[in-house]
Each structure stands twice: as structure tokens, then as C-alpha cells.
């Protein structure tokens, strides 16, 4: 039995795993204490749950629990990491490095820092979405304070060479921040080996609840940050505000399941993704965006030539997918990530991001393949451009009349 629309947008957000949801509920109902309450058992049991969750989050990524700071989500983590380090260490230099395909939470934070007198280099990725190591190394200057590169891209799923980038940063004394919101549960992360100083996490991309995230802040060598929210001094002064116990428990449980199950789960998901790509690549003039190998198994980002993006989205309403990241999908602009890869506007416009997850089935994949075959065919039948292409006309040589 298929339920419609078929959800293939796991990179926008994941359902909360039912096992996670069940474990959250007691912390909403009978165990409702404020973890900061030190005067009674309600507070103590909440604090204990918070610390247990911190251990679970740390364990997934090879960190010490003391290195994990709770935030409201990866966007806040990215802001805290980048602004917090930039303002704390600005005496050492005011140059920052990032990549054009980063999430808006990083790019907009960088723009904000430019208004505070920082200089930012935005690197162009290669055509496959990956940043070249030589290019990365060359961008780091003596006055470079921090580099921020995402582990896994949210739109095309490519995995950046974080290990090597970390070595380069450490050798040059540059603080290295990594947005790992899309990476947890998908790629192995071992912060005891990676030379990463700050790493952002989100629960709701890994079957935990929305509204909770974390920032890894390295202790050896120690990285210091300027807090962005002040108050009661929670999280050792780095992030004030009452801790949402149920959400923290949810993130801890979600990350624990990720640690226990990711190996087997990723194999199953890779099988589904390969099946989807095999099915879709049978359609003419279909292009895969981003490297196929250095990529999480969950992601398939495809451009369909000679199809208009909006019409395509309307035509495949039976599947819930996105044409870019959820955060920018309100705009009709073509994906800035795909444009940074050098895709022409037309192809960037007609791209679909399929992201597969824990609850995706073979039947759903097969239905999606059939739907795309059928609807792409229909749309192209109505397209004069497709007709011209089929007649062998090179569309790039056509002189269009103004109207």
C-alpha cells in the first residue's frame, strides 16, 4: 500500500523515528522538570537525561560529552560557531574562507560578518561539487582566522574531503568549522581523528525532533567562542536558555539509533538510490548533479533537460521532493548550488532533489520511476524546444526574437 504523496525529501527534514518519539513523551508529561532546577528531584532527573543525551550525541561523532553544546538547531550552531569564533579571535586576523555551495545559515552569517569588517573568500566548487584541496590550501592566508566547509551538501549530497582540509587548516593555524547537519547517520564521523575545531549538528535531519541541535567545540586544542545569547549561564555560559529536555532526549536517542544502525541502513538506502538512478537514467537527456562516488547514498539530484521546473514540480505532485533546499524553496530562483557547479539556468531550473530515508520502500521508488517516465514524456510532448532538439537543431545557435 502506497501513501501519497510519497515522501522523498529526507534532506529537508525526517520524520521523528517512532521509537524516538515514544522516548520523548515522558519528558513532556510526568518528567517535566527544568534541568536547571537544583532544588528538587524534578530538576535532577531532567538534568541527568540531558547529560545522557549529551553522551549519545558525543558517541556518534567520537567527541567528549564536554565538547557538546546544545542549541536550537544547526542554523544556530552555525551562527554561534562562526560569529562566536570570529569575534573572539578577531585580533588574529579578519579573513574567513567558505564555499559558494554552503547552506544559507553559513553564507548569511558570513555576509553579516562582512558588515563587521571581515573579509570573506567564497570558493567555487569544481563541476562535481567538490572543493579542490590545492584551491582550498591556496585560499588560506596568514590572516585567515576560520574556514567553514560543510561535510555533506544538502542539495547534491557530495561529501567534501574534510579530513584533508582539517590537516591543511591545522598546519596553517586556521580554525576549521564544519556544518555536519546533513552528515550524521550518513557518513562516519570521528572527531578524535578529524582536525575539526567546530562542528554543527541538527536532530531533525537524523530522525530526531525539530528545534534542537548541537555545536561541537574542541577542548584540545581548546577553541573559545563569544556567546551569542546571554542569560542564566547554561551550557557553561556559551548558550543561555532553559534546556528543552524532551527535545534533547529525542536528539540523543536519534543519534544513538544512528550509531547502532547506520551501517546496515546505508546499504539499504544505497540500493534504493541506485535503483532510482537506474530507472531515471533510462529517460533521455537526464543529468546527475554532483559527484556520484563522493556522495551520501541518500541523495539523487537530477536535471531533466527540455522540461520547465515549475511544470515538472506540478506534474509529479504524487511525490514530495524539492527543487532545491527547503530553506530557499519559497523563491523561484534556480538553485544557487547548481549554478555554482556551472549548470546553466535551464538545467538548474529543472532539477529535482530526491532524498531517500529510513522509511522509503522499493514500491515507492518504483512508483516514482514510472511517474517520472510518464510525466517527463507528457511535458516534452508539449515542448517546442524538445521538438527542435529531436529535429537536431542546436538550440544554442538559435536567434530568439524579442517579444
Amino acid at each position: 500500500m502506497l501513501t501519497f504523496p510519497i515522501y522523498l525529501d529526507y534532506s529537508a527534514t525526517t520524520p521523528v523515528d517512532p521509537r524516538v518519539a515514544e522516548r520523548m513523551i515522558p519528558w513532556l508529561v510526568e518528567k517535566f522538570g527544568n534541568p536547571a532546577s537544583r532544588s528538587h528531584a524534578y530538576g535532577w532527573e531532567a538534568e541527568k537525561a540531558v547529560e545522557e543525551a549529551r553522551e549519545n550525541v558525543a558517541a556518534l561523532v567520537g567527541a567528549d560529552p564536554k565538547e557538546i553544546v546544545w542549541t536550537s538547531g544547526a542554523t544556530e550552531s552555525n551562527n554561534l560557531a562562526i560569529k562566536g569564533a570570529a569575534f573572539f579571535y578577531q585580533g588574529k586576523g579578519k579573513h574567513l574562507v567558505t564555499v559558494k555551495t554552503e547552506h544559507k545559515a553559513v553564507l548569511d552569517t558570513m555576509r553579516e560578518l562582512e558588515r563587521h569588517g571581515f573579509e570573506v573568500t567564497y570558493l567555487d566548487p569544481q563541476e562535481n561539487g567538490l572543493v579542490g584541496l590545492e584551491q582550498f590550501k591556496a585560499a588560506l592566508r596568514p590572516d585567515t582566522l576560520l574556514a567553514s566547509v560543510m561535510f555533506v551538501n544538502n542539495e547534491i549530497g557530495v561529501i567534501q574531503p574534510i579530513e584533508q582540509m582539517g590537516e591543511i587548516c591545522r598546519a596553517k593555524g586556521v580554525i576549521f568549522h564544519v556544518d555536519a547537519a546533513q552528515a550524521t547517520g550518513k557518513v562516519g564521523i570521528d572527531l578524535s581523528k578529524l582536525k575539526v575545531d567546530l562542528m554543527s549538528f541538527s536532530a531533525h535531519k537524523t530522525y530526531g525532533p525539530k528545534g534542537i541541535g548541537a555545536l561541537y567545540v574542541r577542548r584540545k586544542p581548546r577553541i573559545r567562542l563569544e556567546a551569542q545569547m546571554h542569560g542564566g549561564g547554561h551550557e557553561r555560559g556559551l548558550r543561555s536558555g532553559t534546556l528543552a529536555t524532551h527535545q534533547i532526549v529525542g536528539m540523543g536517542e536519534a543519534f544513538r539509533f544512528a550509531r547502532e544502525e547506520m551501517a546496515a541502513e546505508n546499504e539499504r538506502i544505497r540500493m534504493l538510490r541506485d535503483r532510482l538512478w537506474k530507472g531515471l537514467s533510462g529517460i533521455e537527456q537526464v543529468f546527475l548533479n554532483g559527484d556520484i562516488d563522493a556522495r551520501v547514498p541518500h541523495n539523487l539530484n537530477v536535471s531533466f533537460a527540455f522540461v520547465e521546473g515549475e511544470s515538472l514540480m506540478m506534474a509529479i505532485k504524487d511525490v514530495a521532493v524539492s527543487s532545491g533546499s527547503a530553506c530557499t524553496s519559497a523563491s523561484l530562483e534556480p538553485s544557487y548550488v547548481l549554478r555554482a557547479l556551472g549548470r546553466q539556468d535551464e538545467l538548474a531550473h529543472s532539477s529535482i532533489r530526491f532524498t531517500i530515508g529510513r522509511f522509503t520502500t522499493v514500491e515507492e521508488i518504483d512508483y516514482t520511476i514510472q511517474l517520472l517516465h510518464r510525466q517527463i514524456g507528457k511535458l516534452r510532448e508539449m515542448s517546442p524546444l524538445w521538438e527542435m532538439y529531436k529535429e537536431g537543431i542546436d538550440l544554442n545557435t538559435v536567434q530568439w526574437a524579442a517579444h
Partner: protein, 385 residues
């Protein structure tokens, strides 16, 4: 199962069963990201819109004036830092009894060249008129005075204060986190008087932790604390915490519906409590000032508050010696010190904050246990002496 009587509702409240019901679908099948354009996303967006209307209605605001945040601390930081970032460095005036999440961001502005005027309060914990006038004489750009204090429960006449602040052309903010659900709040009337923004939080009104709001006069320009995807009219980026926001909306609706009855009942319980503790020789703080109906802050001379709360916890009563957020530090309550209470007296303070589930019997049992505990501690003190 043994469950202590919970008498610490100003720290946090238990989630209402109806609020949980409203939230559960969003932790289960309605999991879409509100920014997604497909059906899952649109359903989540619609739920947030509904919650925004519920929150707005609870305080007589327009839905477009509500900016969701992750908590009261964030909302207070957003106003203070966000407004300051749009202004030339000047003076910010905050009352001496503000929560740390107002005082600390205000103090942080000093690094940017701001000066902070701490507005004195009188012995009852009410903003002192003379010092408020002195603060305004410095033509502050920003003023923040809490509607209800988290420890004493004292209410400030923020409409009158804001009206004065307006003549000094200051932007006026009030932290209404403890007031919501306990006293009526009318943002339209407050706004007309000169209040530009107020902070609300879900987990103090039987809603979930993790959702709060800054209700903001649209004439006020703020810079966001958190940049990114541009959610909340670009004032607060980050994927919305849909389930918590839905819970916040439901909790607001319930709080308004129950306000009158709850307030009357809790006020009666509180009176009974205070008659009892006064009979034990306790000093009840702010008893002569307008207060929240549920809050009682008192001290028994010669007894340490920390010791007392620990004893009471063992006996099955969850109370506090002050606000939860500063309970990490053993310092006496800054609210009491600002009221001129001697540090020794302040160290003995105990806060009882009542809530919906509390009964006459809870209060009677509490009084009995408190009396026994106090006698025991006094006995020990006498032996030690």
C-alpha cells in the same frame, strides 16, 4: 508511585494533556519542514500560522507581530541585542530585578560602547519612580522592565512606565514570560501606551520547552541574532520547531480560557499559604505590592534557604530558593538584594509558585512539613550554638 508535590511552577510547568494531544501529530505523521512547498511542508506551515494566531490572540496582538524563538532567553536577547545593533551606542535602562537573560545582554552591550542604567526598585520590589525618572533623564535608547518578577511575582505598571519612556523617545520592552496566563495582557493597549515589544514563553504556561515569542511593534527595526534561511520575516532563521510552536499556540488558548478561574483559585491558596508562613514568623516579600496570584517568596530568619529546600525535597515538596536559572550559584537572590533585603535574610528565601494541579491539601501538608522542618533546623542551630 511517589511524586513530590510540585510547587515550583515559575521554574517550569507540566505539559497540559490537551496541549500534548495537539503536539503529537507533529512528532509523528505531520513531520514536514514548513519551508517545503509540498503537502507535508504546507501542512506544517498552516499549523504554525494557526499557532501564531493563537499566541497573538492571547495577548491582543496581531499575528504578524509574533516572532517565534526557541525560548524566552532568546527572545529577550533578540530584542536587546537586535535593537541595539540598529542604533548608535547610547544608554540602555533595565530594572535591577530583571532576569539574567535581560541583564546579561544589556551588560554585554557595554563592549560596544553602551552604558547601562540599572533602575532601582523600592522595598516592595516596584520600580522606584524617582530612579526611573533619573534613568529617563539620561535619554536611554532602550528600556526594559519586566511585567512580573519571577521570584517575588511583583507586577510593574509597565503601561505607565512605557508612557514616560515614550516621552524620552526610548524603545520599551517588557519580559512578560511570568505574567502570561496569570494576569491579563493586552498588547494593543500596552502598545498604545508605549510598549514596543514583549516576550512570552510556552513552558511557563503548561506548554512545551523550546518555544517562545517576541511580540514586536512593526515600527521597531531589529537585526537578527541568527542568520540563515530567512524564517520569521528574516528575524529568526532556522527550521521552525513545529511541534513546540503548535503546543505553544494550544497552551496560549487554554491559558486565556482558564485565566480568571485559575487566578482566583491560586490566589486563595496563596493567601492560605502566606497566613501559615507568617504565623511561623516568616517575612513575606512584596506582600503589599500587586503580585502574580500564584507566587509567594518568603524567608524564615536564621534558616538557610538551600538547606530548607533540600529538606523539603526529601519530604516530598519541590520548591525553590530563587529562580531556576541562577540556582547554579549560591548567591542570594539579586531581586531581594535590590529591594534592600539584608544578605543574611535573603539567603533564607524560599519561593513557592503554585499551579493548576495544586490543591488545598498540598498547601496544608506543605505548611505542616515546613513547620516541622523549621523546628528541626532551629533545634539543630540551638544545639550548635
Amino acid at each position: 508511585m511517589f511524586a513530590p508535590a510540585y510547587l515550583d511552577h515559575n521554574a517550569t510547568t507540566p505539559l497540559d494533556a490537551g496541549v500534548l494531544e495537539a503536539m503529537l501529530p507533529f512528532l509523528r505523521e505531520r513531520y514536514g519542514n514548513p519551508s517545503s512547498r509540498h503537502e507535508y511542508g504546507r501542512a506544517a506551515r498552516a499549523a504554525i500560522d494557526t499557532a501564531r494566531s493563537q499566541v497573538a490572540a492571547a495577548v491582543g496582538a496581531h499575528p504578524t507581530e509574533v516572532v517565534f524563538a526557541s525560548g524566552g532567553s532568546e527572545a529577550n536577547n533578540l530584542f536587546i541585542k537586535g535593537a541595539a545593533a540598529c542604533l548608535k551606542p547610547g544608554t540602555i535602562a533595565v530594572s535591577a530585578i530583571e532576569h539574567p537573560c535581560v541583564r546579561e545582554p544589556a551588560n554585554d552591550l557595554k563592549r560596544l560602547g553602551w552604558s547601562v542604567h540599572e533602575i532601582a526598585v523600592d522595598a516592595e520590589g516596584r520600580v522606584a519612580e524617582t530612579d526611573f525618572s533619573a534613568a529617563l533623564a539620561q535619554t536611554p535608547a532602550l528600556v526594559s522592565v519586566m511585567l512580573a518578577n519571577n521570584e517575588t511575582g511583583v507586577l510593574q505598571d509597565v503601561a505607565a512606565l512605557a508612557a514616560k519612556a515614550r516621552t524620552a523617545k526610548a524603545w520599551f520592552h517588557t519580559d512578560a514570560v511570568q505574567a502570561l496566563g496569570k494576569v491579563a495582557i493586552d498588547f494593543r493597549a500596552l502598545n498604545a501606551a508605549g510598549v514596543n515589544a514583549l516576550t512570552l514563553s510556552a513552558h511557563k504556561i503548561y506548554g512545551p520547552k523550546g518555544a517562545a515569542a517576541l511580540v514586536l511593534d512593526k515600527r521597531i527595526e531589529l537585526k537578527p541574532l541568527i542568520s540563515g534561511g530567512g524564517q520569521e520575516r528574516n528575524l529568526r532563521s532556522g527550521t521552525e520547531n513545529v511541534a513546540a510552536i503548535v503546543g505553544f499556540g494550544a497552551a496560549c488558548e487554554l491559558a486565556v480560557a482558564r485565566l480568571e478561574a485559575d487566578a482566583a483559585r491560586l490566589n486563595t491558596l496563596r493567601e492560605k499559604l502566606e497566613e501559615g508562613v507568617a504565623a511561623m514568623g516568616a517575612k513575606v516579600f512584596s506582600r503589599n505590592a500587586p503580585r502574580l496570584p500564584n507566587t509567594s517568596f518568603f524567608a524564615l530568619g536564621g534558616i538557610d534557604g538551600e538547606t530548607l529546600v533540600a529538606q523539603l525535597d526529601r519530604a516530598g515538596f519541590a520548591v525553590a530558593s530563587g529562580s531556576a536559572c541562577s540556582s547554579v550559584s549560591p548567591e542570594p537572590s539579586h531581586t531581594l538584594l535590590a529591594m534592600g533585603v539584608a544578605p543574611d535574610m535573603a539567603k533564607g528565601a524560599l519561593r513557592v509558585s503554585l499551579g493548576r494541579a495544586n490543591t488545598d491539601e498540598d498547601v496544608a501538608r506543605f505548611l505542616q512539613t515546613l513547620g516541622e522542618t523549621v523546628n528541626k533546623l532551629k533545634g539543630l542551630a540551638a544545639v550548635a550554638a
